[in-house]
């Protein structure tokens, strides 16, 4: 095999094979461009099979078509923890290409956050203090930058070696995948022949991959392809014997084949790639091997000046030692940043590092740590250098220095918002603290502060249990004379315990915190502790106790100018007030707390919390339109804050629930489809099933409604939350009654009643009791003489339960009152004495509440009562028609069917009006709706339209929501667009 390598090449110039894979990648890029969407694709395969090569080939072809290619590599976990390594690399490269000013311009308002990753930018913009909003801002900066680039040309983001990604990077790219504007393809290369460093990687691939369904698997080359590869490297076709030999061992793995070719001259060929690589090293001179061993300790990328220091070989000698490594294609050279060597493939570095003797490794790691501590700029990467130093001291077995370095690295990682990595460094520090004697601990702050920081980082990394353990250790280590710290750490403990679903223990911790933090002189510590305590009391539904604490916290926060604490406390106060009957005041507080949270922008959760709480308060007060508006706005806000997965499903359900009450069923359907697409889990999934079931019931799709509600009942079997249980059981009972399974409906009502413990707020319980009363009344009516009496008693029981529940609640919302009125009507119906006037009054109540579905149901029942009691047929016909058109308008198929059925039996014609719409009106708008639409298109507000047409603005609102539904528009502005497009806006409004 002598003399086979006759060129200076170890790698083929052109990519062999892979045309099918490249075509798939190009098709995905085309899709991303055509749909203005973000596509995600995983390029998978074993080590050395050519994932990077394929991605590079694709990138250079795409770049030739004008695409912008950004590349970042993950760094081996076993080598060191480099938080956000691929993103830092990609951004650093972008700064190099576009210049700092352009990158800052693209990143927009959040640009200063980029200094966390690219210290070089700090020359151009100030470094901001980290807050709990920093992660969100940093994300905004990066996504704004990519969106800015993709506005001009398609963008391809390549993240190499995803199997070595850290958790922070994974979270970041998950967000990118769902938030980027479009025209963007995210490409991840992943090794599949060994498990990833972090199990989270596997989950990420499984989840994103399932969603996108995009995996491009790079298979081994066929014999023909491998022949072409060799032919390209050698410049001549390979001899059959050579091809046989290489193909037999490399089995189509291109990197293996390249290495075999380079090894060439040695007779015996090794069987595994690791043996092969080590055999390759044996070929090299001892000095070269020594230099390579030192390099392998530094990493895959080895800055020349650092290697000089570590290898302990003088300058001319080290060049001589390294030259053969470059000539034999072990190392590649880079000229950027003062010169560096890069192992040609990660496998080479792994093989060399794996062959080090323990003492040798420790000695080399110590040298690297010393060199980097002395001159951090040797690393060429200032962000990660602290982590590198810590890891090298650790590997060198120097406990005291490893401890100090780990704490520094943890702080640096936290500043870069890499909380999982920061926690990993803190955990290392904590275990060293346990192991080292006191005289070996050299820290710049008391031990308890380190533990406290560790706890806070665990909290931010969404590990509340661990945060609780760490803060307990901090509390044990603090001198109680540090009263404020001591007390405030109990507040933190309370918060972590609440997050860990340990409600009782959390309250105990807060009590202790209030006890320990001195009331005088007034401090922000004191204000924060009181506000925190009021929050958990509020969450536990203890509004009366929470309220005075919230007020006191606000007062103290104002005294010391702690505005974020003030906002936090006002949020608690707002909820307390709303549920204690002071709705207007509560809403004002919630709005103010949101404003403060947005102004301060310290903790994004506070903004989301203000929105969610404001929605609940409005919704439970029956103010559906406002509550829908808040929830719809909230969807956009939480997404812009990077909370799509944590809060996006919940906000969509909030909005859909309000919209379905308003009869805006098309909008609700769209939101629930979106919520389903986010693949919710846990309580989020239960809520999506629940709201979907409610919507499907109202649309008359009873079978599907039933199966989604049953799914919610099954998955939420251990729920204790009345806000979910109440509507779940209420709707399930209604669905079962509607399909005629009355016994099942009544049994389900009993189950729901038991679950609610009879102590829930009327807003959650009365709808269930009213649904049960309706089911019992239906059973009584069908039951005839046999058992009829007993059934009427059943109805009475449910009416009495409703009444008791209302009497128990300090404030009762109008929805609960309307439901209660329904239950009473059911009782008179069941007793054989239908009261049409009462049903009409109920219909009016629902109309005022802007719930067209319930209004239609009640009008239908009013008509039925009139017909049954021989009342005024004209009124009955009118009510029936109104019920029918209303139900038809909101797509309530079941109610439409019932109305038609009643009309047929009573010989009432539903369509006796001359058609109001002409043929050129495909939307079947009423004349009134046409008038309103024309004025909407003129840009008038509801109030102004009401003034023009002599109707109330509430009525206008109703017409507008009908128009939205009929025209399939999502927003008012869309209405205008459609009106002009279809010539509906030119009609002159009718007089009156």
């Amino acid at each position: 095999m002598t003399g086979e390598v006759t060129t200076n090449r170890a790698t083929s110039r052109r990519l062999v094979g892979r045309e099918r894979e490249l075509a798939r990648l190009e098709a995905l890029l085309d899709d991303a461009i055509a749909d203005h969407a973000v596509q995600t694709v995983f390029v998978e395969g074993e080590a050395g099979v050519g994932k990077t090569r394929t991605a590079q080939e694709f990138a250079s072809r795409a770049a030739a078509r004008g695409a912008n290619v950004l590349v970042g590599r993950c760094v081996a976990f076993g080598e060191q923890i480099l938080p956000y390594a691929p993103l830092v690399e990609l951004l650093t490269d972008l700064v190099r290409r576009l210049g700092a000013a352009e990158v800052i311009r693209l990143a927009g308002h959040a640009a200063p956050e980029l200094t966390r990753w690219i210290p070089a930018l700090a020359d151009s913009i100030p470094v901001p203090e980290p807050t709990r909003a920093s992660a969100s801002l940093l994300f905004q900066a990066v996504s704004a930058m990519i969106d800015g680039l993709s506005a001009d040309a398609p963008v391809i983001v390549i993240v190499e070696d995803l199997h070595w990604a850290d958790r922070s990077t994974l979270e970041f790219i998950t967000l990118l995948g769902s938030h980027l504007r479009g025209d963007t393809l995210l490409v991840f290369t992943v090794r599949t022949d060994e498990p990833p460093g972090d199990a989270a990687v596997g989950r990420f691939i499984a989840e994103s991959g399932r969603r996108s369904g995009q995996h491009v698997v790079i298979e081994r080359l066929t014999r023909d392809e491998q022949a072409l590869q060799l032919s390209d490297i050698l410049g001549v076709p390979p001899r059959t014997a050579l091809l046989d030999e290489i193909y037999e061992r490399a089995e189509g793995n291109p990197f293996f084949a390249e290495e075999l070719l380079v090894l060439g001259s040695s007779g015996e060929l090794p069987a595994t790639i690791r043996d092969l690589l080590l055999a390759r090293l044996e070929e090299l001179a001892p000095a070269t091997r020594q230099a390579l061993r030192a390099a392998s300790v530094i990493g895959r990328r080895v800055p020349h000046r650092l290697l000089e220091r570590v290898a302990d070989i003088p300058a001319p000698a080290i060049d001589a030692a390294l030259r053969p490594a470059v000539e034999h294609h072990v190392l590649l050279t880079e000229v950027a940043d003062g010169g560096a060597y890069v192992f040609r493939h990660a496998l080479l570095q792994e093989a060399i590092a794996g062959g080090l003797l323990p003492g040798e490794a420790a000695r080399l790691h110590r040298r690297v740590a010393e060199a980097l501590t002395e001159s951090p700029d040797l690393a060429n990467d200032l962000v990660s250098v602290a982590g590198r130093i810590a890891r090298h001291w650790d590997a060198a077995g120097d406990g005291p220095r490893a401890l100090t370095a780990a704490v520094i690295a943890a702080r640096v990682a936290a500043r870069a918002l890499a909380f999982s990595e920061s926690l990993a460094q803190y955990e290392r520090a904590v275990s060293l603290l346990d192991a080292l004697p006191d005289e070996d601990v050299h820290l710049d702050e008391p031990c308890y502060l380190v533990l406290w920081s560790a706890a806070e980082v665990a909290h931010l990394a969404a590990r509340p249990e661990r945060a609780g353990e760490l803060i307990r250790r901090a509390i044990a280590a603090v001198d109680p004379a540090e009263q404020h710290h001591h007390g405030y750490m109990y507040e933190r403990l309370g918060r972590y315990l609440w997050m860990a679903a340990e409600g009782e223990d959390a309250l105990v911790a807060y009590e202790r915190a209030v006890e320990l933090v001195p009331a005088e002189p007034v401090t922000s510590w004191r204000a924060a502790v009181l506000s925190g305590y009021s929050q958990v009391l509020m969450l536990a539904g203890r509004f009366e106790e929470s309220l005075p604490l919230a007020r006191e916290a606000i007062e103290l926060a104002r005294q010391v100018g702690a505005r974020s604490v003030e906002g936090h406390a006002r949020n608690n106060l707002g909820v307390d007030l709303s549920y204690l009957g002071e709705l207007e005041e509560g809403i004002a507080e919630l709005r103010m707390s949101r404003r403060i949270a947005e102004e301060e922008f310290e903790d994004v959760d506070d903004i989301a919390r203000a929105i969610v709480n404001l929605h609940s308060a409005l919704f439970d007060a029956g103010r559906m339109t406002e509550s829908a508006d808040v929830a719809l706005e909230g969807i956009g806000v939480v997404e812009s804050l990077g909370l799509k997965h944590r809060k996006g499903v919940w906000c969509r359900c909030d909005a859909a629930e309000a919209l379905l009450h308003l009869g805006r069923n098309l909008e609700a359907t769209r939101l629930l489809d979106e919520a389903d697409a986010l693949e919710p889990a846990g309580i989020d999934a239960v809520r999506v099933d629940l709201i979907s079931g409610m919507l499907l019931f109202r649309l008359g799709d009873l079978d599907r409604a039933r199966s989604r509600l049953e799914a919610a009942r099954h998955a939420g079997a251990r729920l204790l939350d009345g806000q979910m249980l109440g509507p779940l059981y209420a709707t399930l009972v209604e669905v079962l009654a509607a399909v005629g399974e009355l016994d099942e409906a009544l049994a389900t009502a009993d189950e729901g009643h038991a679950k609610l413990h009879g102590e829930e707020h009327a807003v959650f319980s009365v709808p269930l009791f009213a649904a049960a009363a309706s089911a019992a009344a239906a059973a009584a009516t069908i039951g005839g003489r046999r058992g009829g009496r007993a059934r009427v008693d059943d109805v009475l029981i449910w009416v009495a339960r409703s009444e008791a529940s209302i009497a128990r609640s300090r404030s009762v919302n109008p929805v609960a009152l309307a439901e209660y009125a329904v239950a009473k009507c059911e009782l008179t119906d069941a007793a054989g004495d239908p009261d049409s006037a009462a049903w009409l009054a109920v219909a009016e109540q629902w109309q005022d509440l802007q719930d067209p579905f319930r209004e239609a149901q009640a009008r239908l029942r009013a008509a039925g009562a009139l017909l049954a009691t021989g009342g005024d047929r004209t009124t009955a016909a009118l009510e029936l028609r109104t019920a029918w058109t209303t139900a038809e308008r909101v797509g309530a198929a079941h109610v439409v069917h019932l109305a038609e059925d009643t009309a047929k039996r009573a010989r009432i014609t539903l369509r006796d009006d001359p058609p109001e719409t002409s043929d050129d009106d495909p939307y079947h708008l009423t004349r009134r709706e046409q008038d309103v639409l024309a004025l909407v298109a003129e840009g008038l507000t509801d109030r102004a339209i009401g003034g023009r047409l002599f109707i109330s603005h509430r009525t206008v609102e109703r017409h507008v929501s009908n128009l939205l539904a009929k025209l399939g528009a999502g927003r008012r502005s869309e209405l205008t667009a459609i009106a002009y497009r279809d010539g509906l806006a030119h009609r002159t409004p009718a007089a009156g």
Binding site: D224, A227, L228, S231, D232, G235, V236, P237, R239, L243
Partner: protein, 82 residues
């Protein structure tokens, strides 16, 4: 000197570029053996290659191939120019 047509039944990894590379190597080596590789034809799909060579004898022609790149022809057929 005699004309031969050599036939490679199936050269694996055959590309236009690689066969040109191989021919170039023949040209580097051939003078030492008094051989003249004049022309070649190939088909990438089947891997077939035909070389027209002017050589003192069949063995000299084969030796040039062997030394240049190691791809020795499967058949070497004496031919005459028509």
């Amino acid at each position: 000197m005699a004309l031969f047509m050599d036939v490679h039944d199936r050269v694996e990894g055959l590309t236009a570029e690689a066969v040109a590379g191989a021919h170039a190597k023949d040209l580097e080596v051939q003078d030492r053996y008094g051989v003249d590789y004049r022309q070649y034809w190939f088909d990438e799909g089947s891997g077939k290659v035909f070389c027209l060579v002017d050589a003192p004898d069949a063995e000299a022609a084969a030796q040039v191939h062997r030394e240049a790149h190691g791809l020795v022809a499967d058949q070497l057929v004496p031919v005459q120019e028509g």
